[in-house]
């Protein structure tokens, strides 16, 4: 019988010594008593070694080539998600958009010579009136072409932000809720409170009507419409409805939005008399 045929005496243990003596000069790199596999601690060095990239002058001298510069987009996109956070930090279960970061970003976009357009992506449930209006005012005062696209929802204060851009899109299934502004926290029931609330409402209505095709009367009618929402007075506009009301310019997705932005960038360059490459 072949001596290697059975390992069953003691499971897992090879019962015979090898015929060849081990070479004394070779130190085993792994002791069988050590539970670690040597490969865990010291991964084998890969057989293929990545070459170092030749930079600028080196590659021109040695290979006669130039390193192709990294492709940089000439448009930037900002996404407005979750709640637009105001002057108070919201509890951590909220996803928030922070105006203190967005506003300087918009300044940088306006000032940069490389950035030629801004794509604004909205999926927001509204939030702070002041912060939302601040972002909207910033966007509308940019001199560069801006396009917004409402994806899931652009509710409440998301409406002024969506209409602030030069051109706006809404996805077919996206929705926009328009409802009255309510005071939260302690409300003192005096006429001044309601006057103040009315003024807040006017700020929003004025902004929306001056940046979209909807009229003040129509917008207020949507805001105070009864029977559309169970919990709150107001209305939900879905995709095409927002376009029909004149709030948004067109129904479309990201490809349309980017194409529109590119076209606006090209138009702007032509008007300036800059030759396109």
């Amino acid at each position: 019988m072949d001596k290697y045929s059975s390992y069953d005496d003691e499971p897992g243990v090879f019962p015979y010594s090898p015929d060849i003596d081990p070479e004394p000069s070779i130190e085993p790199d792994h002791s069988p008593d050590d539970p670690h596999s040597p490969d865990e601690d010291h991964p084998r060095s890969p057989r293929r070694v990545q070459g170092r990239q030749k930079l600028g002058v080196d590659s021109i001298k040695e290979l006669g080539t130039m390193q192709v510069p990294e492709v940089k987009s000439n448009i930037h996109s900002i996404s407005i998600v979750g709640q637009i956070e105001g002057h108070l930090v919201l509890p951590p279960q909220n996803k928030t958009t922070k105006y203190e970061h967005i506003i300087p970003q918009l300044v940088a976009i306006e000032q940069s010579t490389e950035i030629e357009g801004l794509l604004l992506i909205l999926n927001t449930v509204g939030g702070d009136v002041e912060a939302g209006l601040a972002i909207a005012e910033m966007i509308t005062s940019l001199s560069k072409p801006t396009v917004s696209i409402v994806l899931g929802g652009g509710h409440s204060i998301g409406v002024p932000v969506a209409v602030a851009t030069s051109y706006s899109f809404i996805a077919e299934t996206a929705s926009m809720t328009i409802h009255p502004i309510r005071l939260n926290g302690l409300v003192i029931g005096v006429p001044q409170t309601y006057e103040y609330l009315d003024k807040m409402q006017d700020r929003v209505v004025n902004f929306v009507t001056s940046h979209s095709k909807i009229t003040s009367g129509q917008f207020r009618e949507l805001m105070f419409r009864t029977g559309e929402l169970a919990r709150d007075i107001g209305i939900v506009l879905i995709g095409k409805e927002a376009v029909e009301k004149g709030l948004i310019d067109e129904v479309g997705g990201v490809s349309k939005a980017v194409a529109k932005l590119k076209q606006m960038i090209a138009d702007r360059a032509n008007n300036k008399g800059v030759t396109l490459q």
């Binding site: 930037h76 105001g86 951590p92 970003q105 976009i109 409440s156 502004i181 939260n184 709150d232």
Partner: protein, 70 residues
Amino acid sequence: MILWTPMQLELVLEGMENMTTPDYCRISHQGVPMLVEKTDGGRKRIARLLSTNPADYLNADYTPGKFLED
């Protein structure tokens, strides 16, 4: 603060009373002034940039919420 949102305010503001003020600290990281929040592990998380250079706000390394690698 006036929140204008169709979401239930109870959901949005839940836990507002129990929120603790994080351990904010004003530092300058590679010449960029910022407000960082020290976490339990001793790491620093960016809370807000205080830089006056608008280009810093487009730097992905300085997004609020990012941990600073020392």
